[in-house]
Subunit: 548 residues, 2 copies
């Protein structure tokens, strides 16, 4: 006879003891507890948590009244302005799914996403009206309710495309809208298309549970105190701003909006609002490091920042530390809600020489508190690599900070999750202390004479050259070696080293087979999130000639 487990009887879930996890709860709490605290600063405008909450309820209600509900997609082509922040809550209050669009994409890409995601509504900013108008013309059969967001802080060209303006639309909604969290925390909350460099982008679906947990994990894993002042240097369209719209609602802090990344304006806002926290790709931090000293005057408080991205963090981490900013390195992908790993600091590292600190802090590290695991495995055998800092494998994630899957793409979803782990596509080694260090994207590795060369490792050296502002290394086809490293370099103003000088610099700092055989100077093509577009450079490398 099977034994009865007394803990399974009469102890069921009910409305009193179980609530689906949803970041909407976090906004409701801050509006309740801190109604009068400033939630959003945008240019001269201030919104309290109470006001933001009311506006989100209006948005949810107005969408509902237009027939938008469960499983419907609401797209947003917006910079980091209040409407974008509010969309992260209001759309979900209607039961719908927010699809934030990368504002740097072209009309074809936007049209693909609006079509594939089946958007029923589009919130759009006049700055992007050209692109959006073209995208909509590519979708003549789609009926999309277009809502213009007129941002007072935008003074450029553009035109209205929609039937109504955002503030008017809000007025159509009920400020007391009785929204409900979803019955199931597994319900979708947002849709983020990957900026795939080949083929059509994939639609990464986030759910309420994961959004809630990563919102909280940002606080715990970063050690954020309550009431942070957070500057929006990171686009909210990028992995939902790494979940920070929801984090800031939990934190009851202040969001300082920013339409575009501009080093002078960033320092001014940091000084004016005593910004305590911000996030960004390396390019953002580099812009600050390389800014004139006078822009940085008058900032005496500690500024904490997160950096993530495929570009080499060594120079960034060193530069930020020298500037007195407290930088922490995180790692993740669109598929992991943005950061799902952190190079967790050890207090005793502070006593080490700066160069060692930079090396230690420049690693991808360990899984976030609310992720379940991250490891490096041989994808063929699914065996973890030895912790020797040398054997390469693929970074794998598992846990609650991993996407629901790719929208309408069961094949890609199945492949991504094969073997019960999410395959990141990033190649890395495991250090003896269990910290992960990326060596490269699978497709970015250079194989020369049968030897693997990590393009990141070469780039790390290039960034140490005083004339180098940005650098990218890709494979160039070579009849003898198969491939050789080809370096693309963007120089600092007034710097003019020769290609040979750069090569000599590398030779004295790495194994000779890793040294670039070609050096090309010029501006580097970048995505809107600051990632260097290596697929363009690979095309250029094919036609470049080697130096030796």
């Amino acid at each position: 006879m099977a034994r009865v487990n007394p803990y399974d009887i009469g102890l069921d879930k009910n409305a009193a003891n179980h609530t689906p996890l949803s970041p909407l709860s976090l906004l409701a709490r801050s509006a309740y507890v801190y109604p009068q605290r400033i939630a959003i600063i945008h240019d001269g405008r201030r919104l309290t948590w109470s006001q933001v909450y009311t506006r989100c309820r209006r948005l949810g209600s107005a969408l509902r009244r237009r027939g938008i509900g469960n499983g419907d997609t609401v797209a947003a082509m917006l910079p980091n302005i209040p409407a974008m922040y509010e969309a992260h809550f209001g759309v979900a209050m209607a039961g719908a799914v927010l699809n934030t669009l990368n504002t740097r994409l072209d009309a074809e890409a936007i049209a693909f996403m609006l079509g594939h995601g089946e958007a029923k509504v589009l919130l759009t900013d006049q700055e992007f009206s050209d692109t959006v108008a073209k995208a909509l013309r590519l979708l003549p059969d789609k009926k999309i309710l277009v809502i213009d967001v007129d941002d007072q802080d935008y003074r450029g060209e553009g035109e209205r495309l929609g039937e109504t303006e955002y503030e008017n639309f809000l007025l159509q909604g009920d400020p007391e809208f009785a929204w409900r969290i979803p019955d199931d925390e597994w319900d979708a909350i947002t849709l983020n298309y990957t900026s795939g460099t080949t083929g059509n982008p994939k639609g990464v679906v986030y759910h309420h549970r994961g959004a809630y947990l990563n919102a909280i994990s940002n606080i715990v894993s970063w050690g954020m105190p309550p009431h942070a002042v957070y500057l929006w240097t990171l686009p909210m369209f990028h992995c939902n701003g790494w979940c920070f719209p929801w984090t800031m609602a939990a934190n009851a802090g202040t969001n300082v909006c920013l339409r575009k990344v501009d080093a002078k304006m960033i320092f001014d806002l940091i000084r004016q609002h005593r910004v305590t926290h911000y996030c960004g790709a390396p390019i953002v931090h580099l812009a600050l490091i390389n800014a004139p000293a006078e822009w940085k005057q008058g900032i005496a408080h500690t500024v904490n920042c997160l950096v993530a991205g495929a570009a080499p963090p060594g120079a960034v981490i060193e530069g930020m530390q020298k500037m007195g900013f407290n930088i922490t390195h995180v790692y993740g992908l669109t598929e992991t809600y943005g950061p799902a790993a952190v190079c967790a600091k050890h207090p005793e590292w502070d006593a080490l020489p700066l160069a060692e600190q930079v090396t230690l802090n420049g690693r991808q590290g360990v899984w976030y508190h609310m992720q379940q695991g991250m490891t490096v495995m041989d994808p063929a055998t699914m065996e973890p690599v030895p912790w020797n800092g040398e054997t390469m494998g693929e970074i794998m994630f598992r846990g609650n900070l991993t996407m629901k899957g790719y929208l309408k793409n069961p094949k890609a979803t199945g492949e991504a999750f094969s073997g019960g782990w999410f395959h990141s596509g990033d190649l890395a080694v495991m250090h003896p202390d269990g910290y992960v260090k990326i060596k490269d994207r699978s497709k970015d590795i250079i194989i020369s004479g049968g030897e693997n060369i990590s393009s990141l490792e070469v780039e790390d050296v290039l960034y140490r050259h005083p004339a180098v502002m940005a650098a990218a290394v890709v494979a160039r086809p070579d009849p003898k070696w198969g491939e050789t490293p080809c370096a693309f370099i963007e120089l600092k103003p007034d710097a003019a080293p020769s290609a040979q000088e750069i090569i000599e610099f590398c030779r004295s700092r790495m194994a000779h087979f890793k040294v670039p055989t070609t050096v090309i100077f010029g501006p580097l093509p970048k995505t809107s999130t600051g990632k260097i577009q290596k697929f363009i450079l690979r095309q250029q490398a094919k036609s470049a000639s080697a130096i030796e």
Copy 2:
């Protein structure tokens, strides 16, 4: 035709994107990331996170090897020593449920809990061997594996009762035990009996999901930075130490053990280990406030503390603030995993006069980040009371920080959750800012001439008298008024006011009908968690004579 929701198709849970929430994950992470950091300090002993994790795995494995598994109960009669901390993880690693026993209870109560909870194993400390031996004799038919924990820091009397000692038992376990988190986060993790003052205690069941979420909510709602040094003034047998064993695993901080609350030792440990955080009932904080000044010398760093409990917090909050400790008031019940509400501070309160700060901070406040809601309702209509600071109702909770239910007690479970809210039994008002303020336990209210008198309100005034160390007010039956307030007072050393003096003191500070008619001096009976045992005082009050 029903529309297909594209977000529900091909986006299911799998091992890569969904993990049941469990605090065991938090320990595993800290052991991985910070293996060499000190996790536990006990007397002269130090254990790292790696060692603690290994010892927990051994415990889980050793239990498994003795046939303990899912749905089995492992009881612990232990003070705040390393074995008690480890039991919070090791027992769950075996799939079993930890029942921490209140070490101050008598043999009959312990026997009831061991019997009702169907304990299969008992971890016990020699200090309690008298009680435990008696309890076991009351259960002649039970086969309980008794394991003695020989604590080096215990130098009192006692005897071994079990077949093996804890350290030997650990050696029978596999240090590499491949434990698994439960398949279902709703599975029970611990069992806590309420210290009911009438009838048999009820067994409150916690699940992995709630334990995980409150572990994290303690960090977010208190604003704990990483690597806190946490002093164990709060018994771990009390709501699993308010979930702080799991919080500290997430925090990767240091647990400083403490066998018993002793003011001098607390100050010594704070000084020696630079303790940053501790929790306790008001009695603990009062002991510190009233300690000789020389014990407090040499503590220059900020100490953060939480206070909770039914006793009046006004005097405690004021005293702690004067001492320079940063005190935060939390509120909850055994049924809500300990604290599930916090008197969330507003930075602008710091500018107010101390008396106002004390009043504001002395409220029960608002729900914890990871609780879903707390409100005050008329239990008959389930309508919220107006936010006027006057209308009394019952505090109700809902959300993920509410117990699974009472073990083998569907009637009590159903009543507690009736109407979709957990009924706390505490009477309170709602202030205009949405903060809850307790007026009394339902059974502690005094009804005199048809008027409700809050015993807490009277006690608050008594605590302001310079001679009063502790005070409790209960109803005394009165032929004319029905009931009148009867005050029991424990005086500070060398203080000797008359009853009439106390009454005059009250008269000048409250409505006359609320002033105690009887004042009795002497030590107050307290539970092990510092709660004054009013049911004993009520008995005494019946035979006391009125002063006027």
